[in-house]
Every structure is written in structure tokens, then in C-alpha cells.
């Protein structure tokens, strides 16, 4: 099943590769991964989404917790959590499709045009997986998507609960 895992990591060379290696060594693919420093520059936060056998992923989590640079690791899958992802999409919009494009944007108030060039619009959108999917489907009916960049899902637990370093 789909699993979403949060990891606090010392912000160091090699640390990310070790985490990724835990999955690749078992032939497991990482579906999405977002990483960046937190409010503490020495600490990175990773959000990792993967699909696979629950027992195997449980074992990966346990073994990842042993990595020296790992500060904390938590499986958010069964916890009440919030997920969000940023997507930047480029589509071809000719004069004939401009009205449809504007209408589509109106249906998605969280979408923002961040670049306008001749015949091409670049739009930014944030939302959870389902929302991003719907948005992209809708946009795809207006014009041809020529490029797409997704940040990968980031997630936190809902409410006051935080992933704190031990």
C-alpha cells in the first residue's frame, strides 16, 4: 500500500543517498521525495512516498532509524496528516484556446500564472495529490502540456503534533 514517511536528517553529504539506498537495495522505487533544510539549517526534512509490501517497508523504516544521520523518522500513513505538493506546468495556449484557459483558471482559484510568453503559459498550483491530479486533467483539456515539474509531496501531522528530534 501507499506509505508516506517523514524523516529529520542531519543536513550532510551522503545522508540522503543512504536513505535512498535503503529502498533501492531492495528494488523499491521511491515515488516521490521532497527534501530541504528546516528552520534549523543543520537539519533537513524529507517526505518520502513509496508503495510496497507493508512488512518490507516497516523493516526499511526500522533500519533507516539506525542510520547515524537520522534524527527522527515517522510513518505518517496512519496518522492524521496534511499533504501538499507544488506543481509547475507549462502549456501551449493559442488565441483560439485563450478563453478556455481563463475559464479553467477560474475553476482552480489556487492556480497562478507565473509566466506569460508567446503561445505558452506557465502555471503554479499547490494541493494534495488528488487536487493536483484534477487540476492537471482539467488543464490538459485546454491545451497541450509541454512540461511539468512536481516538488514531491510534503507532509506534516495535523494539529500540535510535531516530528521533533530525539
Amino acid at each position: 500500500m501507499r506509505r508516506i514517511i517523514s524523516i529529520l536528517l542531519q543536513n550532510e553529504a551522503g545522508a540522503l543517498a543512504r536513505i535512498a539506498g535503503m529502498f533501492s537495495a531492495r528494488g523499491y522505487n521511491i515515488d516521490s521525495l521532497s527534501v530541504a533544510a528546516t528552520h534549523d539549517a543543520a537539519v533537513s526534512r524529507l517526505t518520502l512516498v513509496t508503495f510496497g509490501d507493508d512488512a518490507v517497508i516497516d523493516q526499511i523504516i526500522k533500519q533507516s532509524r539506525k542510520l547515524i544521520e537520522v534524527l527522527e523518522i515517522a510513518d505518517l500513513t496512519s496518522r492524521d496528516h496534511i499533504e501538499t505538493e507544488l506543481v509547475i506546468v507549462k502549456i501551449e495556449v493559442g488565441n483560439e484556446s485563450l478563453n478556455n484557459f481563463v475559464a479553467a483558471l477560474r475553476r482552480h482559484p489556487r492556480a497562478q500564472v507565473i509566466d506569460i510568453s508567446a503561445g505558452v503559459r506557465t502555471i503554479e498550483f499547490t494541493g494534495n495529490g488528488a487536487e493536483v491530479g484534477e487540476f492537471l486533467d482539467d488543464l490538459g483539456r485546454v491545451g497541450e502540456v509541454i512540461e511539468l515539474a512536481r516538488s514531491g509531496t510534503a507532509a506534516v501531522e495535523r494539529g500540535a503534533a510535531i516530528l521533533a528530534q530525539a
Binding site: E12, A15, K66, V70
Partner: protein, 551 residues
């Protein structure tokens, strides 16, 4: 690595300050000083361009601190860096201290991958220091460059690539800490040549912060069995009539054999050990059942089948022991598991009760609790039938072989040696049938006498491991029981034995081939001995060793 987290230097007015604190030193000198401070007595390694500054520092250190003929940090040179890695392992396994190997970049470092992975698989504390091309050349396919931090990341407890010279000292000290604490393992420190040559100031105490690792370690070290946990354990044990301890390598690594024996003897609970746990119990004792598993004794395996309460201690239900987990110890109504590694709990088999913490302390605590609570199965005779059954199993299924065979039987050779060593010699092995015969037919009265590549099963382990052990236990006889094929893998190390005049005894059980492989081919491939028959080999082992003994 460690780009952000700054090492913590010791305050200058600290009374415990290192005598050399504040002294200017090169990176290479700092490497050697930290080795000395960590209590390293011997290092194993082969030199080369990228590690020359450290080799020079070792030379100068030994020259400056020589006591008579004795060097404080003898540097033992193998035939191949794989040998250095296994020598460091043999030293570590026999002594319980961290083994150290120092090698050059590229091929020197890659030659240690096998012993490093082997150390990881058997939880052996090692620090391997590798030279690396200068920082500016990393990633340029420089001469003798290999991506050691990438390669080793997958087979170590941790790897450091020191690109910031100011963190070299803290990194080295932390490498030893990581290698020896918690579940031990190998740590590789990759040091570019320019970092070895950088002029630095010695601190004497700096360490890396390692906040996550240390917090988890502390949690395990501080863990105590509370009364409720002890009560649950003994309530269940009181129901049992056939309890059994299944002891693994964790008992050896955790120096918990004394506590284990006191617990087992105090309540009359028989013990089986894994291949890695050999020596946890004294194999000459009545309630000691020797090794279980695929290559174990029949009586140990029957006892495991027959037990109704299993106490796994520093063992991990490995596939050579619990091939089919559901069928392993299927009669046990209660499984208890004591370990230091959270990742081992419920990994293979779900247990009814577990404790994560220092093994020795936990076993002491359980024994004291049981005694205070009046748990006295010996006094009450609760296990009388079970003990009789154990004695019976050991008699009925005693290890045996064709004693009247015309040819010398390998088992007879081991039995004969055992009469002399009486469970008090260090025994190293290769991998194969001879390894299992040694495990089965030798006695072991203490931990750290049995040196074998358990989890990786690396042929070529025996000879270099015996060499390393000779430096750890100068007081004991050290014997390498090897196979004709295994010994060939590191045959060059014969010369290391003679070069350093080491009192290592070598016994090759020559069955002209890969016996263990043939055993499987006989069982599963209708006796087609593909590539495992070495009867055409022309080597004469005796002349081989004599050729290494030029007067």
C-alpha cells in the same frame, strides 16, 4: 560530511585536558594520535600514494615512542588489503576491542570491501582508514580514485568522507565511538591526501555531535526492566516445563556471557547457541546443547522443537536457524527476545515479550527478580523431565562418524586437537564443511575463542583472522582450521605468518575440493559436481608453507 554540525571543542581550562591539546599537528599526526588515545595496540594495512602521510606519521610515532624493541603501534603488512581487513576483524573478535586497518585509495580501499561488509554482517567493530585522492581531484577519475564513501555506505555502520580538515579529529574519535557502541560494526573514514597534510591544532577531545545516534543509544543504555515486565516474564515462565535459551552473537558482542550463564545455571535452563553465539555457554556443560540450525547438532534442533518457552538472547532468527520461521520452535507457547537492536524485534518472528537494552544488565535483573520472587524451578524439580530429555537427546543423537574408516576422518582430526586445546584455544576457520565440523566438534569454554565468518560466509577468512587474533591473545594457542579451497583465497597471508614469526597453527582439512558445494550438488543437483572438484590441483600445501620459511 558534517557540513553544518560543528565539532565541540573541549574548554581550555578543563582539568582533564589532553596533554597535547593546543599542539600544532598535521592531519596525519592527528590520525595517529587519536589511534593511540583510543588504545589501539596494532594496525593492519598496506601503503600507497594517497595514505603515505599517515604511514609516515605512524613511522615517526613508533620511532619517537619505542620502548626497547617494542613499537607502541606496530603496523602489520598483509599480502592483500582483504587480509588486513580480516586481520583487524580477527583482532576485534578475539579481544572485543576495535580492530583497525589503514589502506590507500582506489584498489587498496576496494580490496577491503569484503571484510568490511563481513564485519557489518557479523556486527564486528572496525575502523578502516582509507587514503583518498586530494579533495580538489575527487570526482575527476584521478589516479587510484574510487568513490569509497558511496561504495562503503551500503556496507558499513557508517562512512565519513573528511573534506573539512578542521573536523578530522572529531570525526576519527566519533568513528571509534560508532564502531564500538550499540550494535557494533565497521566505520570507514576516507581521508583525502591534502587533509592528511593540512596543519591543524590538536584538540584532544573533540567529537561530532551525532544527536540522533546518541539519543537512541542512550535510550537503549538507560532502558531498565521494570517490575511489571519482569513479572510478565516470570508469570509466563512459571507455566513452562521445557524452557530453552537461544543465544546468539549479541551475547558475545555485548559481553553478556557471564550474566547469561548465571541466569541459565541459576534456574536450570538449557542453552543452544547460534554459530555466532558459540562460546556464550560452556559447551562442556550438561545443559549446554551446542549449535542449532541447518548445520547444528541434531540434539540442539530437537530441543528447540521440543521447548515450550524460548528465550532469544542477542540472536535474530536468521535463515540458517529459522529457515521456515513458522515452523521454528513451533511448540514454544511463549517467545521472549532480548536485544540491543530495535530493528530485530518482530523482524522474522513475532514475539510475546521483548526487552531492548544492555543484555548483561537485563539478564542480571531477571535473575535477581526471579530469585527474590521465589522462582525456584530447580528446588521444585519443575524441569526434571526436561533435563532428563536433554541428557537423553544428547546421548541418542551424539555427534558421530565412521570411526573405523580407513581414511583419516576430519572429525577425528578435530576431536584429537580438542583433546589438547580443551576448549581454551582460539579457533579460526574458513567457510565450508570444515567450518561446520569445527563448530560441531570443538569445545568452547569461553566467548571470543571462536572466530568465523557467520553471516557473510567469506572463504579466506580463517588465516588472516587467526593472524589478527595472535596479536589479541598472545597468551593462547591460535589455530586456523581451514579448507583446501578457502585457504587458497588468502594464501598469500602464509607469508605474513612467517614474516612476523607468529605462533599461528594451520590445519588444512583437504578434501580436494569445495566440499560444502559438493554436499549441496549431491543433494540438489544429482551429484553433478560443477566446478567443485579440485582433485586435479597440483598444489602441495607443505611445500607451499616451507617456501615461506627461508632461513
Amino acid at each position: 560530511m558534517n557540513a553544518q554540525l560543528k565539532p565541540t571543542p573541549l574548554a581550555t581550562n578543563d582539568p582533564n585536558k589532553h596533554a597535547l591539546a593546543g599542539r600544532p599537528m598535521s592531519g596525519a599526526d592527528i590520525v595517529v594520535q587519536v589511534l593511540a588515545d583510543e588504545g589501539v595496540e596494532v594496525v593492519f594495512g598496506y601503503s600507497g600514494g594517497a595514505i603515505l602521510p599517515v604511514y609516515d606519521a605512524v613511522f615517526r610515532f613508533n620511532h619517537a615512542h619505542k620502548v626497547g624493541e617494542r613499537e607502541p603501534l606496530p603496523l602489520i603488512v598483509p599480502a592483500n588489503e582483504q587480509g588486513a581487513g580480516f586481520m583487524a576483524q580477527g583482532y576485534a573478535r578475539a579481544s572485543g576491542k576495535v580492530g583497525v586497518a589503514i589502506v590507500t585509495s582506489g584498489p587498496g580501499a576496494t580490496n577491503t570491501v569484503t571484510p568490511v561488509r563481513d564485519a557489518m554482517a557479523d556486527s564486528i567493530p572496525l575502523v578502516v582508514i582509507c587514503g583518498q585522492v586530494p579533495t580538489a581531484a575527487i570526482g575527476s577519475d584521478g589516479f587510484q580514485e574510487a568513490p569509497i564513501s558511496n561504495i562503503m555506505a551500503a556496507c558499513t555502520k557508517h562512512v565519513f568522507l573528511v573534506t573539512d580538515a578542521s573536523k578530522l579529529e572529531a570525526t576519527l574519535r566519533s568513528a571509534f565511538e560508532i564502531a564500538r557502541t550499540g550494535r557494533p560494526g565497521p566505520v570507514v573514514v576516507d581521508i583525502p591526501k591534502d587533509v592528511q597534510n593540512t596543519q591543524l591544532v590538536f584538540d584532544g577531545a573533540s567529537r561530532l555531535p551525532l544527536p540522533g545516534y546518541r539519543a537512541r543509544l542512550r535510550a537503549i543504555e538507560d532502558a531498565r526492566l521494570d517490575d511489571a515486565a519482569c513479572k510478565t516474564f516470570f508469570d509466563a515462565l512459571a507455566q513452562a516445563r521445557r524452557p530453552l535459551i537461544y543465544a546468539g552473537g549479541g551475547v558475545i558482542a555485548g559481553e553478556a556471557a557471564v550474566a547469561l550463564r548465571a541466569f541459565a545455571d541459576g534456574f536450570g535452563i538449557p542453552v543452544v547457541t547460534t554459530l555466532m553465539g558459540i562460546g556464550a555457554a560452556d559447551t562442556t556443560q550438561v545443559l549446554s546443547l551446542h549449535m542449532l540450525g541447518m548445520h547444528g547438532t541434531a540434539f540442539a534442533n530437537y530441543a528447540t522443537e521440543d521447548c515450550d518457552f524460548l528465550i532469544a538472547t542477542g540472536s535474530r532468527f536468521d535463515d540458517r536457524v529459522a529457515g521456515v520461521p513458522a515452523k521454528f520452535a513451533a511448540g514454544a507457547r511463549f517467545l521472549a527476545h532480548l536485544d540491543v537492536d530495535p530493528a530485530e524485534i518482530d523482524k522474522v518472528k513475532r514475539v510475546d515479550w521483548h526487552h531492548l537494552g544492555n543484555l548483561s544488565r537485563a539478564l542480571e535483573r531477571l535473575r535477581a527478580y526471579g530469585q527474590t520472587a521465589g522462582f525456584d524451578p530447580l528446588g521444585k524439580g519443575s524441569y526434571r523431565d526436561w533435563h532428563a530429555h536433554i541428557v537423553d537427546l544428547k546421548k541418542t543423537y551424539a555427534m558421530n562418524y565412521a570411526r573405523d574408516a580407513a581414511q583419516i576422518q576430519p572429525y577425528a582430526v578435530i576431536e584429537e586437537i580438542n583433546k589438547h586445546t580443551q576448549g581454551r584455544a582460539v579457533i579460526a576457520t574458513g567457510v565450508g564443511q570444515h567450518q561446520m565440523w569445527a563448530a560441531q566438534y570443538f569445545d568452547f569454554r569461553e566467548p571470543r575463542l571462536w572466530l568465523t565468518s557467520g553471516s557473510m560466509g567469506t572463504m579466506g577468512f580463517g588465516l588472516p583472522a587467526a593472524i589478527g587474533a595472535a596479536f589479541a591473545r598472545r597468551d593462547l594457542v591460535v589455530i586456523d582450521i581451514d579448507g583446501d579451497a578457502s585457504i587458497r583465497m588468502n594464501l598469500g597471508e602464509l607469508e605474513t605468518v612467517t614474516t612476523y614469526n607468529l605462533p599461528v597453527k594451520i590445519v588444512v582439512l583437504n578434501n580436494y575440493g569445495d566440499g560444502m558445494v559438493r554436499q549441496w550438488q549431491k543433494l540438489f543437483f544429482k551429484g553433478r559436481f560443477s566446478a567443485s572438484d579440485k582433485s586435479l590441483h597440483k598444489k602441495d600445501f607443505v611445500t607451499t608453507i616451507l617456501s615461506m620459511c627461508r632461513a
